[in-house]
């Protein structure tokens, strides 16, 4: 399951800085991602991982730094731009409109329309049924607003939205935080499958065990700065914990 890192990286974020009212939320951070790779982003609350990733997904604009997608400079000013680069995001909050049903959420901002330009609800529902059959075969509540769904069902709608549109780069912000063991397993299997398809995944997580199990590399952040990026196979849980808590880089394990 080793990742081929000989070509061009899928994403390079170089020297990214962003500050809010004088606080350096992200301070000269560089990370990269290769096809078929899962890179974990670790750190305490407020370490800057979500902020970093929101720059890539277009929710924030960096004050400084460069983003490259497939080796070419990418200009991402808003979420629409990110989608154009096939960057899809599953937000921690899921970012679902609770009053709308699953298919309306899945296609939000990218509705299928009929020849007359009206939204084609029937076709969107059918497409939603197709993708859900793959992700969550027990899902039935296509007509209900997503507020009526369980945590796991809502999560699968959010995941379906990211997967349906052929993402090349997937950002998952705490995808298993609200899930039970069975659903967490489901997400793990999905990540493995997406990896095989050559999709690159940034996985933000609090859970070191998740990261050790699912990720190829881990980038650890503390106080807005990058502590380091390590090859998960070459470090122990304790090494990662040390990076997160103490900001101490296990020098001998440093990866490229």
């Amino acid at each position: 399951m080793s990742v081929d890192r000989t070509g061009t990286p899928l994403v390079e974020m170089k020297d990214i800085c962003i500050s809010f009212g004088g606080v350096h939320a992200v301070d000269h951070v560089s990370v990269d991602l290769w096809p078929g790779e899962v890179v974990g982003l670790l750190g305490h609350n407020g370490a800057g991982k979500s902020t970093l990733i929101k720059i890539l997904s277009g929710a924030y604009r960096a004050d400084q730094g460069e983003i490259r997608v497939n080796g070419e400079a990418a200009h991402i000013h808003n979420p629409r731009d990110a989608r154009r680069y096939n960057i899809e995001t599953i937000y921690q909050t899921l970012a679902l409109a609770d009053n709308l049903n699953a298919s309306a959420n899945l296609f939000l901002g990218r509705e299928l329309v009929t020849a007359t330009g009206l939204v084609d609800d029937a076709r969107m529902e059918a497409e939603t049924a197709k993708i859900m059959a793959r992700l969550n075969p027990n899902f039935r509540k296509f007509r209900d607003p997503v507020s009526a769904l369980s945590g796991g069902q809502r999560q699968s709608v959010a995941i379906a939205r990211a997967v349906y549109f052929n993402a090349r780069i997937l950002i998952m912000d705490e995808p298993t935080a609200a899930l039970g063991p069975h659903e967490t397993q489901m997400v793990s299997e999905l990540i493995e499958e997406l990896k095989r398809q050559g999709i690159g995944i940034f996985l933000i997580s609090h859970d070191i065990h998740d990261v050790m199990k699912l990720c190829d590399r881990a980038s650890v952040m503390k106080n807005g700065q990058l502590v380091g990026t390590v090859d998960v196979a070459k470090v122990t849980d304790d090494d990662l914990l040390g990076m997160i808590i103490l900001g101490k880089h296990p020098g001998q394990h440093a990866a490229a």
């Binding site: 970012a95 309306a104 959420n105 901002g109 039935r140």
Partner: protein, 430 residues
């Protein structure tokens, strides 16, 4: 898990559930019918006469037109307190255009066939522009809509005053006045044609929706349920037309019409009014707004933004521009409502539309639009306007003192929202 038990006998469904009619809408219709019946009893049958229903209908149009726009505003968690004043400004522009500015500046004589249309166009542009400006203040400069439109309430009321120097402007162009209600109706024959056309359109729409669902292998309601629904819709449309046709034009007025044509009215000639143009306009607006709300991207984005503004933003929706569009639509609808209101009175008066903002908001809220955002229907808002107007004119007919009328209307507004909250809690819906 579920699969093993499924595919046995089809689950039994209740009558209403098979029809797939919103129980909330049903409750509102029930309340409306109850209001009508009670007033009818108290007035010894004067409330449900063709004449009163006709009047009730044309009195509702102006507020109902604005209420459809207010649904979009409230669904996106905003509010518009300036609609009454905006109506006055638009009405003033249209009145001044056709009586002073166009005749004086462009030399179009009073009575020129272009006058009313240019005036209406100017009014629409004024309304849309002011609305868009409000939306820009709210969306791009992030001033709360409450403040922007509270300011607008004062500003536009007095802009209208300034433009007209506080005078009543009239008489207005006869073609323009035809949009007011009683002075412009289709007549019985054309009304029947429109009614039958509406029935046909409704049946086609029902059929097309069913076929689209079935085409994607989705469950459809039983055929008998479709038939019952179609029957109810057809009966409602044709019944409404029949009532409006039943209201007879007074013979003195008919005589004048014949005189104007240079003819003599035959002995015993009678004619009904039929559907007023203003009601046709409202129906047209209701259909367009419903299609926008449920079948267009714009509508989808409006509801998504109301449900979760952050999610809408992250989905790539330009919520700022959306706000501008919503307020621009509201402004244009204020202009149309102003046209109907001033045409009904046959002149523009300085106090036109006063307190309409409250009636419009009340109509939308009684009609099920949630101030917390994300929920609301166009037909609900129109029904809300109708209920409000029925209460008001019903109480006037019964002879309730004016202060009590307003007290009742205010109490009903609060009560309606309370019932709505209880209903949503019980059904667990949204």
């Amino acid at each position: 898990m579920a699969e093993t038990t499924g595919a046995k006998a089809a689950p039994k469904q209740g009558f209403l559930k098979s029809l797939e009619i919103d129980t909330r809408l049903l409750g509102m219709i029930g309340a409306f019918i109850a209001v009508c019946l009670v007033f009818n009893l108290m007035t010894d049958g004067r409330f449900l006469t063709a004449r009163n229903i006709f009047n009730l209908t044309i009195q509702t149009v102006s507020v109902a037109i604005m209420a459809t726009g207010m649904v979009f505003v409230i669904v996106t968690r905003h509010i518009d307190l300036s609609v009454g004043s905006l109506l006055a400004t638009c009405s003033a522009v249209m009145a001044m255009m056709q009586t002073r500015w166009l005749p004086d500046m462009l030399g179009l004589e009073i009575g020129h066939p272009l006058l009313p249309w240019v005036a209406i166009l100017a009014g629409l542009l004024t309304g849309a522009a002011i609305g868009a400006f409000n939306g820009w203040l709210v969306g791009y400069l992030t001033i709360p809509a409450f403040i922007v439109t509270l300011g607008g309430l004062l500003v536009w009321r007095n802009v209208a005053w300034y433009m007209t120097s506080g005078q009543t402007i009239g008489p207005l162009d006869p073609t323009y006045v035809a949009f007011g209600g009683i002075n412009g109706t289709l007549g019985p024959a054309a009304s029947w044609i429109v009614g039958l056309g509406a029935v046909a359109a409704a049946l086609i729409a029902l059929f097309a929706a069913r076929r689209a669902k079935a085409g994607h292998g989705q469950p459809v309601k039983p055929l008998w349920a479709e038939a019952v629904l179609a029957g109810l819709v057809a009966a409602a449309i044709l019944g409404f037309v029949a009532v409006l046709n039943a209201y007879q034009i007074p013979s003195a007025r008919l005589e004048r019409i014949f005189e104007a044509r240079g003819a003599v009215m035959p002995e015993g000639y009678t004619a009904g009014y039929g559907i007023p143009y203003s009601v046709l306009l409202l129906i047209f607006i209701a259909i367009v707004m419903t299609v926008v709300a449920t079948r267009t991207r714009l509508g989808r984005y409006i509801f998504a933004t109301g449900g979760n503004p952050d999610a809408a933003e992250l989905s790539g929706i330009n919520t700022r521009l959306l706000t501008v569009k919503i307020f621009a639509i509201m402004g244009a609808l204020c202009a149309l409502a102003g046209m109907v209101a001033s045409a009904r009175l046959a002149n523009h008066s300085n106090d036109i539309g006063t307190l309409d903002e409250l009636r419009v908001i009340a109509a939308a809220v009684i009609g099920g639009t949630a101030l917390s955002g994300g929920i609301g229907t166009i037909h609900g808002a129109i029904l809300g306007a109708l209920i409000m107007q029925s209460l008001q004119s019903g109480m006037a007919m019964v002879g309730v003192d004016a202060p009590f009328q307003n007290i009742v209307v205010g109490a009903v507004l609060v009560l309606a929202v309370l019932i709505d909250i209880l209903y949503r809690k019980r059904t667990g819906a949204r």
